[in-house]
């Protein structure tokens, strides 16, 4: 059984935010909710890197472990989804997630979180596949249509890879072998490679 994964190739990401826009457009994500965003590391320093981050659909998901109402579940493909009818908006998942994936709408009254929203790997939710109810709560269910997440398909440089973990790992491995660097060819010692210039440090923010 295929396991769905995202992988962002930092050598290719140009921080165009196409993935963010594709996600918002495909799922009609409301203002204040960012299911996906591009993070730039060591901005302004030689060797800066950008990566696109969303829910990583963890195999041992911390959000799932802390949820007091047990609204999270894994699909057969390993996608982490949640049931908005069960969510009480406590925010525990927000604190547990190392990627900042769970989002809460900002439009409600002060102190009212509302239902949690996050990347669904474009796999909808527990409602009937591609129904109106499913779209209103979770957005598009592209997986059921035989497609992959809009963000990965939209990526112009194919930096953001999404799909069967085995296939995208092969694609990335071949890229790393061709380049002769990255994931310290080949092994998952570090997820996004080692810095090209270890002596360079990110700015500390101290004024000169």
């Amino acid at each position: 059984m295929a396991r769905m994964k995202f992988l962002c190739d930092d050598e290719r990401c140009i921080a165009c935010n196409g993935c963010v826009t594709a996600c918002k457009q495909e799922n009609e994500v409301p203002w204040g909710v960012n299911r996906r965003r591009v993070v730039t590391l060591n901005e302004g320093v030689r060797g800066e890197r950008s990566i696109s981050v969303a829910c990583m659909h963890c195999s041992d998901a911390p959000c799932m472990a802390v949820c007091p109402v047990d609204c999270f579940y894994h699909t057969e493909e390993g996608v982490v989804l949640h049931d908005k009818d069960m969510c009480i908006g406590c925010g525990y998942c927000f604190y547990a997630c190392p990627f900042g994936a769970p989002q809460f709408p900002q439009a409600g009254a002060f102190g009212m979180r509302g239902k949690m929203d996050k990347c669904t790997f474009c796999a909808g939710g527990p409602e009937k596949d591609n129904s109106k109810e499913e779209f209103a709560k979770y957005g598009s269910n592209r997986l059921a249509q035989g497609k992959l997440p809009a963000c990965a398909e939209m990526c112009s440089t194919k930096a953001l890879l999404g799909g069967d973990g085995d296939v995208i790992a092969d694609i990335f491995r071949n890229r790393a072998i061709k380049r002769g660097k990255g994931s310290e060819v080949w092994g998952w010692g570090t997820a996004y490679g080692k810095p090209d210039h270890p002596q360079q440090q990110a700015p500390t923010g101290a004024k000169s």
Binding site: A2, M4, Y73, T75, E76, E77, L81, D83, A123, G124, P126, D129, N141, L143, A144, G146, K147, L148, A152, E153, K158, L161, G163, D164, V167, I168, I171, N174
Partner: protein, 64 residues
Amino acid sequence: MSKTKLSRRNFLLTVGASGAAGAATLAAKAVPQAQPVAAREQKRRTAGYQDSAHIRNYYRTAKV
């Protein structure tokens, strides 16, 4: 005991019994029934990932 008093008691007994029965019915309706786990699992099942031509084409373009 007069007939009037007896009928009044019967009336009160009837009202009390029917009221209790009504309240029990309402309570039974108000308690939310837990969704069986099997039904929940069934609801969550989706068509999921398919090895479609569209997806194969995506993998091909990602290899470039």
